[in-house]
Symmetry: D2
Subunit: 166 residues, 4 copies
Amino acid sequence: MKKIVVGIMGPGNASPLEVQTARELGRCIASQGWILLTGGCNSGVMTAANQGAKEAGGLTLGILPDRDDRHLCPHVDIAIVTDMGSARNNINVLSSDVVVACGMGPGTASEIALALKAGKFVILLHLSRAGQEFFAQLAPEKAIAVDTPAAAVDRIREILANGNPK
Amino acid sequence: MKKIVVGIMGPGNASPLEVQTARELGRCIASQGWILLTGGCNSGVMTAANQGAKEAGGLTLGILPDRDDRHLCPHVDIAIVTDMGSARNNINVLSSDVVVACGMGPGTASEIALALKAGKFVILLHLSRAGQEFFAQLAPEKAIAVDTPAAAVDRIREILANGNPK
Amino acid sequence: MKKIVVGIMGPGNASPLEVQTARELGRCIASQGWILLTGGCNSGVMTAANQGAKEAGGLTLGILPDRDDRHLCPHVDIAIVTDMGSARNNINVLSSDVVVACGMGPGTASEIALALKAGKFVILLHLSRAGQEFFAQLAPEKAIAVDTPAAAVDRIREILANGNPK
Amino acid sequence: MKKIVVGIMGPGNASPLEVQTARELGRCIASQGWILLTGGCNSGVMTAANQGAKEAGGLTLGILPDRDDRHLCPHVDIAIVTDMGSARNNINVLSSDVVVACGMGPGTASEIALALKAGKFVILLHLSRAGQEFFAQLAPEKAIAVDTPAAAVDRIREILANGNPK
């Protein structure tokens, strides 16, 4: 039976607060028994999320943009090597039952937009007011801003249970 | 010698004003001797831009998401069939010397973000205030809001001449 | 630490003998502690390999060509949803430490060729004499025909140990 | 109205005879008013085919595997930048109304196989006896070996006229 996969998207160049949140998110996701999916590279939000998930005994999946695993985060268990650059962002979101964005950058913005295009729910953390407003305009029922990893996990549980947040 | 390609991105579900702007943009781009690139489907901004370009005697290129050309806009001269869904959005922007976004939706947002990720300039038309602010936060020097097709063409000319807008 | 992934490629429309071999291959691969990667669909060699791997308590990874998991083999634990059609064949081989082909069809042939293009070793089972000769012409040191799942596993072990078969 | 696109696939590392054939094929295709599609790189069969097509006044399309156009053949008019490595081979064949393979290598073999998978006709030149036999086993009605560029063009015309060769 297919396991549940939760994707954490976020910038390689992340602030200390975003890194801390990503690590906590990784821990929470693994604690729920969900597989963690990230872009797989060894930087910023990706590294922190994978580190957190492994601390909680989880399984980690990295979808790499490169043609080999030279930039692979050491906390990733299973590497998917795409050699597709940023086009792999679409695979990240299509393969995630729910997408969480932690922090912001052009790559992360593309993942949120691609997830919304595919009809996925996206949980948003550390997003500017303009960003929140913009994504709410794009998909008011699918883009969900929260303040903490615990709130993110609550929302993911609702989405997985109902296919729809309260 | 490689020809100049300008991409127009925009929603399939577009307002009458966005359609009118896209058609005028297509005419302007073709009048400059530039090739028009779109997502190739027969709806909204894509259809209008291709129609405008053909009215001005231009050459039109459509990068299709499907596995065949059943949704191809009839004003497209050359169809690239990707069978990659929204991952083809990255090809749209990488293949465009300059990207123009006309109107907004999740797919268009992903194209703007992917273009900024790749270091491309993006000219923005019919974008909400929140959207303008959001993309300015992402890439203040690359995301350029304008009001008219004529202003868009002026900016494209500057970018092609200098690699950098004034 | 990244786990070892072995890919089994083969036709959805497979003969009973190919199905039997694929199931035995899946069992052998899982018994070694390697993760099994397939194209993820519920047919032929893919189903049989995943079934065998689960019988031996393994972990199974399916790289789907579709935009959702509607054709997913029920013996797949983790689904990667690519929405890329046959272009996902390149991901199949790039993500596999060693590729095994069991049986033949146009999709399988493309996977062997893409693996050889990427410099990967490919173990070949149930391949016609013309096929063996053709791939030996393409890459004499990388295309390795064997007769049994046990021989395939021996060769995979050699490749993983030495980066080069005897 | 969509123009007819004929793809020439072949190795970057080609023999003088393959290069000569590719150049003549490019000339023949352009003389028919068909657009030439290649993998776009500046080597072997790709360069020769594009050179031939430009000599005959044709329009040339290059589908690049890289993230920019640094390896672009100078005889290519329109560059599609995919950043997808060998996965772009699937786009090459899906975008071609008919595929011609001139010479052989792992990349070319993958393109023939992907074309046959997609139900396309493939005209084969300079293919070994084992290769001819192998592809005839894969798709006897779709893989068509010929000896000269002129014979290739005759077959392409038949395919375009009937959707089926004699």
